[in-house]
């Protein structure tokens, strides 16, 4: 058996307040793998990512990353260990410049490494380099998404969580983003993208696809591919 999976979720039950959103969720992701999780609005997609990142509390189950239990570890520490997130709706900081936005993602790495990471992000998304001093709020939707991804990459993650990669973006821009992510995957980055059901461009690049329905993974993902568009 090859090396243990990078991320493991075991029997996760999580949610807000008294009622859970995720029930008994098991998941494994290995290095270099691209996993797409699709589901309807309200099925628990964002909650799944937030649980991995530590923003949402877990009431039962375990989150294991790199062989270590991180179930109750704070978000900041999880980012320091190599998990990063691109939030839903991009959520870049509109009043900061592009470069400053990138720097907000670099809080968990050493100061002397920041310049090097900036270089690397500029290699992946050259447009960010050319617009380095520009106010982020004035970027186009696609550029903002690239900035959001670049910001997440600044912390040198091993696992990247992406919430709705293609929200409101033109197909061409989505293609650029997925190409960039695929290159990174080939270099060892694990990627989990969650998206709504009908967006096929991102799921096409996935090595694996899961369906989330009302807080649970549907048991037979292969057969789901057929049932999916029919049911929904």
């Amino acid at each position: 058996m090859p090396e243990p999976p990078m991320l493991e979720l075991r029997g996760i039950r999580a949610g807000y307040g008294r009622l859970p959103v995720l029930f008994d969720v098991d998941l494994t992701v290995g290095a270099g793998e691209w996993l797409t999780v699709v589901g309807a609005n309200g099925a628990g997609r964002s909650t799944l990512l937030k649980t991995i990142l530590g923003v949402t509390n877990v009431s039962a189950g375990e989150v294991v990353f790199g062989g270590q239990r991180i179930t109750h570890l704070a978000t900041y520490d999880r980012i320091a260990r190599g998990i990063a997130m691109v939030p839903e709706g991009r959520r870049i900081f509109p009043n900061l410049s592009v470069k400053e936005n990138l720097r907000t993602g670099a809080n968990t790495i050493a100061k002397r490494e920041v310049a090097g990471q900036l270089e690397r992000v500029h290699e992946v998304f050259p447009i960010l380099g050319s617009r380095s001093g520009q106010r982020a709020g004035s970027l186009s939707g696609g550029e903002q998404q690239m900035l959001a991804v670049g910001r997440a990459l600044m912390s040198r993650p091993q696992l990247l969580l992406v919430d709705e990669l293609s929200l409101g973006l033109a197909p061409l821009v989505v293609a650029t983003l997925t190409a960039a992510l695929q290159t990174l995957c080939a270099e060892g980055l694990a990627v989990i993208v969650v998206d709504e059901v009908h967006v096929h461009s991102t799921t096409a690049s996935a090595s694996r696809r899961l369906v989330l329905e009302k807080g649970r993974f549907v048991s037979n993902p292969a057969a789901e591919a057929q049932r999916l568009t029919a049911v929904l």
Partner: protein, 629 residues
């Protein structure tokens, strides 16, 4: 208010009355004064309860306003430098000025963010300190011109006991008034506006009017407290208990007591007055009590200490095992044919009949809603560009498209929550492009939201009844006095609410707090609330979000039935494409701010651009007969 919730305060009230009567005839004089002060504090903070507890606005001027009424009323009553008016006229003057000041503050900042109003009330308090409190003629008097206790309706209030009873009577009357208000559509509307302005606007309540009314009410009660205090002492009291820091103590009382209970406010006010005196050796400053009150209030939430007590009592009542019944209810919802439960179908049929009688007849225009060339841009993004949409009467229209396409923004514009940069909206043939949401609701438009906007601290029944604001006739006076027109309206609305609860399968949870229900039930409560506003057109924003495929199908079946049996027109946003394609008569597809396709289900499913952008190239619609209820 149900019988159960009305009984409790009545019992407490009776007990308190008995204790008070005994104490009244045995207590020394300074205790009578302290207790009377406690009563006036209670009157003033009842007004603050309406503002802070119901309308969720903060005022830092209540102490100053109370003092204003004390000094002005006292001045008007006095001979010498004063005007020597009779008590009632002086009282009216005092209350009038205080209400005018409250209105001045609220009218100027009603539409602005809350930070302005809170700072303006602090400014009002400090201005009062620098004007009224610095005026010698108001705050002092010479021994020849003291204030005499008045005689009201033939009763002389010269004795301290009699005055105590007078103050108590005013407090009790105030509580009764507020209890009646709370049980009427005005109280419910105020509370809804405090919880969620957008939901209130969608149901027909103007949040600005609600805010201004709340401030006016707070002013009335501050004025009443002041004019009851004025004749208590022969000379005006020192202003040292009415400074800005004391306004914070006033604020602590309803915050600590919680918004659900009027009695709790009176009790806490009495405690705040009596404790520093009773425990004099401990040097308990009222400021310290206030700080503890504010702190506890933030920790317990809006329901306050009384909420904790009520919740504890509520949990001790015998309850049916929750999960079993919920599963049973879910099964019912998914199986509209009723199975062996013929009585259930009969109940549903009756509920539909009640609801149909409740909903008003509106103009039968051929096109209920027409949006023309609506465009809006914000944050540097063109959110909608030249969107045109027509909703024909008595049809189920679907709006689909990827996330971020602008569907909720479009709903905001149709509903009136947002103004477009260009374009127009016609509702039942009338141009409503400039009309606020509550006026559109009055014309027959009702809307639900993507995230459930129900009040978690209220029961299902209370949430549903809040939707009936537009459908119950009668002014405030009629509602509070319980006159026939208002009473009949409330009864009708109550029956309709129960009918709606039956149809949406939440009837069993009528007295349950909404925060204890599962997500799907909460959404159904919100749909129910919007039905009670008497709509002819329903805008539903992702009603099936969070439900699984089977539940979503059941919900669609229900919506279809409402549309057919009640003659409603429905425009809904959904991601369950199969359900939309099966049930909707007309479908619009919105992507990146533009309508890219419009037509029947077959046309949409075959449209190449829709397939490219949303459905996917390999989409195969399954041919199934329509699921009709």
């Amino acid at each position: 208010m149900t019988a159960a919730t009305m009984k409790r305060p009545a019992v407490i009230g009776a007990v308190l009355a008995a204790v008070t009567a005994v104490w009244l005839f045995t207590a020394p004089q300074y205790w009578l004064f302290t207790a009377t002060t406690g009563l006036t504090l209670g009157i003033s903070t009842l007004g603050l309860l309406v503002l802070v507890g119901w309308a969720r606005e903060v005022s830092l001027a209540q102490a100053g306003l109370t003092a204003t009424a004390i000094y002005l009323c006292g001045f008007a009553m006095r001979s010498g430098a004063g005007w020597h008016w009779p008590y009632l006229a002086s009282a009216a003057f005092g209350v009038g000025v205080v209400v005018a000041l409250s209105l001045l503050v609220s009218l100027s900042t009603a539409k602005l963010s809350g930070i302005y109003i809170i700072i303006l009330t602090l400014a009002l308090q400090i201005t009062i300190e620098k004007t009224f409190f610095s005026d010698i003629t108001l705050v002092q008097t010479d021994p020849d011109h003291t204030i005499h206790r008045p005689a009201l309706f033939g009763v002389h209030l010269t004795s301290d006991r009699a005055y105590f009873l007078f103050a108590l009577a005013v407090l009790v009357l105030g509580m009764v008034f507020l209890a009646r208000l709370r049980a009427s559509r005005f109280g419910r509307g105020l509370i809804l506006a405090g919880t969620d302005r957008q939901a209130a606007a969608a149901v027909g309540v103007s949040p600005w009017r609600a805010k201004i009314s709340a401030f006016a009410l707070a002013g009335v009660f501050a004025g009443l407290a002041g004019v009851v205090t004025a004749p208590l002492y022969p000379t005006p009291p020192s202003y040292i208990s009415y400074l800005s820091i004391n306004s914070l103590v006033y604020l602590a009382i309803p915050v600590l007591a919680g918004f659900r209970s009027l009695v709790a406010v009176a009790v806490v006010a009495m405690v705040f007055s009596v404790a520093p005196q009773a425990f004099e050796h401990l040097h308990i400053s009222p400021l310290l009590l206030g700080a503890i009150g504010l702190l506890s209030g933030t920790l317990t939430g809006p329901t306050g200490v009384s909420g904790l007590v009520l919740a504890w009592l509520h949990s001790r009542r015998a309850r049916r095992p929750a999960d079993e019944d919920r599963d049973a209810a879910a099964v019912d919802l998914r199986d509209p044919s009723g199975g062996d439960d013929a009585s259930r179908r009969e109940r549903h049929a009756r509920a539909l009949a009640v609801l149909e009688a409740y909903l008003p007849e509106r103009s039968d225009a051929r096109e209920v809603l027409v949006a023309s060339d609506v465009s809006i841009a914000f944050g540097g993004l063109q959110a909608l560009a030249d969107v045109s949409l027509t909703v024909p009467t008595r049809k189920l229209v679907g709006l689909i498209g990827p996330n971020g396409a602008g569907k909720s923004t479009l709903f905001d514009i149709l509903n009136g929550l947002r103004q477009p940069d260009s374009g127009s909206v016609l509702l039942f043939g009338q141009d409503v492009s400039q009309a606020p949401p509550w006026n559109r609701a009055a014309l027959g438009l009702s809307r639900t939201f993507q995230s459930s906007r129900v009040n978690l601290d209220l029961t299902v029944g209370e949430n549903l009844m809040a939707g009936a604001y537009l459908m119950i006739p009668g002014s405030v006076a009629e509602a509070v006095a319980g006159l026939p027109r208002a009473k009949a309206g409330e009864r009708r609305a109550g029956e309709a609410a129960r009918a709606v609860a039956e149809l949406l399968d939440v009837a069993g949870d009528w007295d349950e707090f909404v925060r204890n229900l599962d997500f799907g039930a909460q959404r159904r409560v919100e749909i129910g609330r919007s039905l009670l506003s008497g709509p002819r057109l329903l805008l539903l924003d992702e009603p099936a979000a969070g439900l699984d495929a089977a539940e979503a199908a059941a919900l669609f079946a229900l919506v279809r039935r409402l549309e057919q049996d009640l003659g409603l027109t429905v425009l809904l946003v959904e991601h369950y494409v199969k359900a939309v394609l099966e049930n909707c008569d007309l479908i619009y597809v919105l992507a990146r701010g533009r309508i890219i396709a419009a037509g029947s289900a077959a046309e949409i499913a075959a449209d190449p651009e829709v397939r490219a952008v949303y459905l996917g190239e390999d989409y195969q619609p399954r041919t199934e007969e329509r699921v009709d209820a």
